[in-house]
Symmetry: C3
Subunit: 142 residues, 3 copies
């Protein structure tokens, strides 16, 4: 559900960093009672000469694009809380290392979303709880 | 118009697979009387250590992000039908090989879209029919 | 703010081309009194066998996805003017070389956007003017 795409110049993160960032981001959503497997994290590494800020090469910059599908954030407090959590998840690998960063979250339509061929269950339904428990997509009756 | 971006660990698809998936996806739209050249398919291959589900490496996972611009889907039946068609297009290369997958479609604003410098014609106009026939962008009077 | 992702087969642009395209795109926004550092440009190069139009390999095709966060375009005239400017920025490297291209712009929600951990200031505020002048994110009182 949440799809997190990180863009940055190759070499900024080690394999271990990537693993840890993905785990820390995943925990945000499992703490909110979402299935762990909803969380996709993709690290898209580009050449050093292929990412720019201010029209200048940005070899120390990390840009995250996050997309949400399973939940909508219905207040600004909630939105800021989720941004806080995401920034805390990758902060030790980014801010604490002196890198620059930018993030935005998009919310897209859940009717246009499927995992393993199934439109995922609505929030807090028994079907969703089963998906959380089994951590996989299981056919269900609506 | 429809821009389809596939994200996955390098090595999952051969050049032949990619060609066939692109052809099969294109057919969905030409069957709906859209110009073939509207269909963009991009395969974004990342390192095996750069894609995660549930905070774990996901070397057998394919994530598709599809974006529509030329048409909007105005009923849930239509939305599900398009998802069905997309999943059928890549199914032989994904589901049938035991890979995992997830997809979502986004609809974006056609006024903010251009191909070859031209805002594409509205649905089912003579100009669009000419674009279908010639399979290229041709200037037209609105 | 504006995040510009270019997708194309590797080899189409030199390092110098990328630098110049990024500078020319950045100028669009600084001319509109936005901070230069809002402008992110990422060149995502794929294998020649990994990008398709009409179901056929498209080694001479450039696809730009632009995302806006700091401003919304409230008239069609404005939308077309921004598209004109973007196409003029990369035109010498794309149209003038006989490449094909397609572009769309998306507008996303500024409340879900942060740079360096800060929700950027509203348009034309004193804080934004300071960000322009210093070309960096500076904490401010709302």
């Amino acid at each position: 559900m949440p799809l997190h795409r990180f863009y940055y110049a190759q070499g900024l993160f080690s394999a271990q960093d990537k693993q840890e960032i993905a785990q820390r981001i995943t925990k945000i959503y499992t703490d909110a009672n979402l299935p762990a497997f909803y969380v996709n994290v993709v690290f898209i590494e580009v050449l050093e000469d292929s990412i720019f800020i201010s029209g200048k090469p940005a070899p120390k910059f990390v840009r995250l694009v996050s997309q949400h599908l399973a939940r909508t954030m219905d207040s600004n407090e909630r939105k800021q809380a989720v941004l806080d959590k995401l920034e805390a998840a990758f902060g030790p690998y980014v801010k604490d290392r002196g890198l620059d960063w930018e993030i935005h979250i998009e919310e897209h339509e859940r009717d246009l979303w499927r995992t393993q061929g199934i439109n995922p269950p609505m929030p807090n339904t028994n079907a969703e709880k089963l998906w959380v428990k089994e951590n996989k997509a299981i056919p269900f009756e609506e």
